[in-house]
C-alpha cells in the first residue's frame, strides 16, 4: 500500500539524537527508508548515522527540501509541539511513537491534524510499514513477510506476535498500521480499512483490537453496511481485564459501561467478522475467510 509510505517517501525524524530516535533511525535506514533529515533543538549541525540534524523543521525543509512524513520520538511533554511544527511545515503523515502524552494535548493536535487532512498515526504507536519498502516505526522487521494481508492494530508486540503466526502459515503482510494505544488517536480502524479497500495488493485485513472505547464496535457497524468489502479477521485482547483498570495502554480501560471484550466480540461477529481466541488461530480463520 504505497498510499501511505513507499521507498520514495521523504522522511524526517524528530528527536533524532535521543536514545530511541537514533537507534531506530539506524534500523529504518537499514530497511531502506529514505530519511532526509532529523531535528533536535540545540543539536543542529551534527549528524546521526549520516543523517543531517537541524534545530528546526523550518531549517530542515529549507536545506533538504520538502518532507512527506515525519516520525516523532520526542519526549511526552514536548511531543505535541513537535507535531504542530511538522504539520505547519507541510508534513502530511506524522507517526507519533511517544507514549504518555497528556490527553488534552492529544485532543488538540489530533483535531488540528484532521482539519488539515494530515494523517496522524498514534500517539503510542509502533508506526507504519509497507513491508519490504518503507518502515516508519519501531517494529522488528524480520517477523513480517511481504504479502496480501493488511494489518491494523492498537498494539505493538501483539502485532508482531500475530505477524509471526501469519508468516508461519505463509501469509505475508502488505502494510502494517499501528493506530496507537492511547484513547485518542489520529486514525481509527475505519479510516485505515478504507485505505486497504483501495489498495490492490491487499486481499484481506487482520484487525487487532483491545478493550477500551468503541473503535471495534464502530468498525463492525461500518463493515456490516458495506456493499463491497474485503474479508476481515479479528483478535481482541483483554478478555480477562477487570473493569476500571488501565491495562498498560492509556486507552485500554473499560469505563462508563463501554469497552468490554464481550461487546466488541459480539459486534464483530454479528457483522460477519470471525474473532480468534488466541493469536495462533488468526491464520486459521484467515484461511477460512479467504476460501469463501
Amino acid at each position: 500500500m504505497g498510499i501511505l509510505v513507499n521507498p520514495s517517501t521523504r522522511v524526517l525524524v524528530q528527536g533524532i539524537t535521543g536514545r530511541e530516535g537514533s537507534f531506530h533511525t539506524k534500523l529504518m535506514l537499514e530497511y531502506g527508508t529514505k530519511i532526509v533529515a532529523g531535528t533536535s533543538p540545540g543539536k543542529g549541525g551534527s549528524y546521526v548515522h549520516g543523517v543531517p540534524v537541524y534545530n528546526t523543521v523550518y531549517e530542515a525543509v529549507r536545506e533538504q527540501g520538502p518532507v512527506d512524513a515525519s516520525i516523532v520520538f520526542v519526549p511526552a511533554r514536548f511531543a505535541s509541539d513537535a507535531v504542530y511544527e511538522a504539520i505547519d511545515h507541510g508534513v502530511r503523515v506524522v507517526v507519533v511513537i511517544t507514549e504518555g502524552i497528556p490527553l488534552h494535548d492529544e485532543i488538540k493536535f489530533v483535531n488540528y491534524a484532521r482539519s488539515r487532512g494530515v494523517n496522524i498515526f498514534g500517539p503510542n504507536t509502533p508506526g507504519v510499514m509497507t513491508v519490504g519498502e518503507c518502515k516508519l516505526g519501531i517494529m522488528p522487521a524480520h517477523v513480517f513477510k511481504r504479502g496480501s494481508v493488511g494489518l491494523v492494530s492498537r498494539s505493538g508486540t501483539l502485532t508482531y506476535e500475530i505477524a509471526r503466526e501469519l508468516s508461519k502459515h505463509n501469509y505475508g503482510v502488505s502494510t502494517v498500521v499501528g493506530l496507537g494505544g492511547d484513547p485518542i488517536t489520529g486514525l481509527d480502524f475505519i479510516d485505515v480499512y478504507k485505505m486497504f479497500l483501495e489498495d490492490k495488493e491487499t486481499e484481506a485485513v487482520v484487525l487487532i483490537g483491545e478493550i477500551g472505547g468503541d473503535a471495534e464496535e464502530r468498525f463492525a457497524d461500518y463493515y456490516s453496511k458495506l456493499a463491497v468489502k474485503k474479508p476481515v479477521v479479528a483478535y481482541i485482547a483483554g478478555r480477562t481485564a477487570p473493569p476500571g483498570k488501565r491495562m498498560g495502554h492509556a486507552g485500554a480501560i473499560i469505563s462508563m459501561g463501554m469497552g468490554d471484550y464481550k461487546s466488541k466480540r459480539s459486534s464483530l461477529e454479528s457483522a460477519g467478522i470471525p474473532v480468534a481466541e488466541t493469536p495462533s488461530q488468526v491464520p486459521l480463520l484467515l484461511r477460512e475467510v479467504l476460501r469463501k
Binding site: R77, N111, R114, I184, A237, R239, A250, G257
Partner: protein, 376 residues
C-alpha cells in the same frame, strides 16, 4: 486518577457550582459535631470504588446522635473491599428530581462531550445500557470550547424550566473550565439535583484527572497511587504497568497487548491469570529481575509464566534477570518461559544451564503453565 467526592466537591464549589453544605471528617465525634450545625444530614463514605450507594456507603441521619452511630458503623466497614477512612457529612437536601450531567472525552469524535440525562441517580454504565436514548450528547470543538447554545440544548433534554437557564449555563461553563484547568478525563455530577425550592445542586461529584498530565499538576501528583493494592504500588515504584487479578498464574510479558493476550490465552486453556505485568519495551536485566522477584513472592501465584517477544527487548537480558531473581528468592514456584526474537539463542542457553527449557510457541508455554498450576 480518581479524586474522592469531597475533593471533587471542593473544586466544584470553588468554580461556583452549588454543592450541599458539609464537611469531611475522620471520626464519629466530628461527624456528630457537623450534624449539630447542619441538622438532618447525609453521611457518605469516601471511597474510590464505584457502586458505593448500593454497597451501603451512603446513609441518612436525622439527629447528631444518629450521625455519630452511622459514622461509627461506616468507619468500621469496607465498601467493596475499600476501607473507609473519611466520611462526608452533608446537609440533607430536599430533592424534586435527580438529573445526570457530565463532561467527558469522546473517543470517536476525539472531542469533549457533555452527557445529559433526565434520569440521574443511576450509574451511567446502567443508564447507557438500559436507556441509551435518554442520554443527550453535546460535542464540543476543543478549539472553540463551551458555547451558550449548549445549556439551552441541555435544558430541553433535562426538561427544566427556562428560569433555570442561567444557573445551568454557569454550571456547564464551570465544568468546561474544570476540565481544561485540571486536565480532567471526566467531570460528573450524578445526581445533579433539582431541589424542592427549584435550585440546581451537585449532590455527588466525580472528577478523574488524566494520569499523563500529572507532571503539570504537582499538587495532584502527590496524591497519585493511593487507590493501588500493595503489589500494584510496588510494581508502580519499579516502573511496571501492573494490575491485580484473582487467579493463580503469574504473568510477565512485554507490551500491553501481548500481556493481555497471554492472560486471555491462560483463560482459554482453562487457567486463571493472577495479574497483568508489562515490563515494557527494552527492559534490562535489573528490571526483569525485580519483576520476577515480585511475582515469585506474590502469595496467590503458584506458577509464573513469562512471555517475551524480543524486539528492542533482548532475550539474553531477560534470561539473566530471571536467573538472578531465582537465586535471590527462595520460593520454589515453577517458572515457564517463552522467548523469541532478539538474542533468543543466547537467552535459551542461559536458561538451559539453570534447568529451564524455554518454549518458542506461546500456546505451548501457556498450556504447560495451566497444567502445572492444576498439579501444584
Amino acid at each position: 486518577m480518581k479524586l474522592y467526592e469531597y475533593e471533587s466537591k471542593e473544586i466544584t464549589r470553588r468554580y461556583g457550582i452549588p454543592v450541599p453544605r458539609g464537611r469531611v471528617v475522620e471520626n464519629p465525634e466530628d461527624a456528630k459535631r457537623v450534624a449539630e450545625e447542619l441538622g438532618a444530614v447525609v453521611i457518605k463514605a469516601q471511597v474510590l470504588v464505584g457502586g458505593r450507594g448500593l454497597a451501603g456507603g451512603v446513609k441518612a441521619a436525622e439527629t447528631p446522635e444518629d450521625a455519630y452511630a452511622v459514622a461509627e458503623r461506616l468507619f468500621s466497614s469496607t465498601i467493596r473491599g475499600e476501607k473507609v477512612e473519611k466520611v462526608l457529612v452533608e446537609e440533607k437536601v430536599c430533592i424534586s428530581r435527580e438529573l445526570y450531567l457530565s463532561l467527558t472525552v469522546d473517543r470517536a469524535s476525539r472531542r469533549p462531550v457533555y452527557l445529559v440525562s433526565e434520569m440521574g441517580g443511576v450509574e451511567i454504565e446502567e443508564l447507557a445500557k438500559k436507556y441509551p436514548d435518554k442520554i443527550h450528547r453535546i460535542y464540543v470543538d476543543p478549539s472553540v470550547g463551551y458555547s451558550d447554545y449548549m445549556p439551552r440544548e441541555a435544558l430541553q433534554a433535562l426538561k427544566l424550566p427556562w428560569t433555570l437557564l442561567q444557573d445551568l449555563a454557569n454550571i456547564m461553563k464551570a465544568m468546561y473550565s474544570i476540565m481544561t484547568d485540571y486536565e480532567a478525563e471526566l467531570v460528573e455530577f450524578n445526581p445533579l439535583a433539582l431541589t424542592c425550592d427549584n435550585r440546581l445542586v451537585a449532590l455527588d461529584a466525580k472528577v478523574i484527572i488524566d494520569d499523563n498530565s500529572l507532571y503539570r499538576h504537582p499538587d495532584l501528583q502527590k496524591l497519585y497511587g493511593r487507590d493501588l493494592t500493595e503489589y500494584e504500588k510496588r510494581a508502580k515504584e519499579l516502573g511496571f504497568n501492573y494490575v491485580e487479578l484473582d487467579g493463580d498464574i503469574g504473568v510477565i510479558s512485554n507490551g500491553a497487548g501481548l500481556t493481555m493476550a497471554t492472560m486471555d490465552s491462560i483463560l482459554y486453556y482453562g487457567g486463571r491469570p493472577a495479574n497483568f505485568l508489562d515490563i515494557g519495551g527494552g527492559a534490562r536485566r535489573e528490571s526483569v529481575k525485580e519483576a520476577v522477584k515480585l511475582m515469585l513472592t506474590h502469595p496467590r501465584t503458584r506458577v509464573l509464566l513469562i512471555n517475551i517477544f524480543g524486539g528492542i527487548t533482548r532475550c539474553d537480558e531477560v534470561a539473566l534477570g530471571i536467573i538472578e531473581a531465582v537465586k535471590e528468592v527462595c520460593a520454589r514456584k515453577p517458572i515457564v518461559v517463552r522467548m523469541l526474537g532478539t538474542n533468543e539463542e543466547e537467552g535459551r542457553r542461559i536458561l538451559r544451564e539453570h534447568g529451564i527449557e524455554a518454549y518458542s510457541e506461546m500456546d505451548d508455554a501457556v498450556k504447560t503453565a495451566v497444567e502445572l498450576a492444576k498439579r501444584w
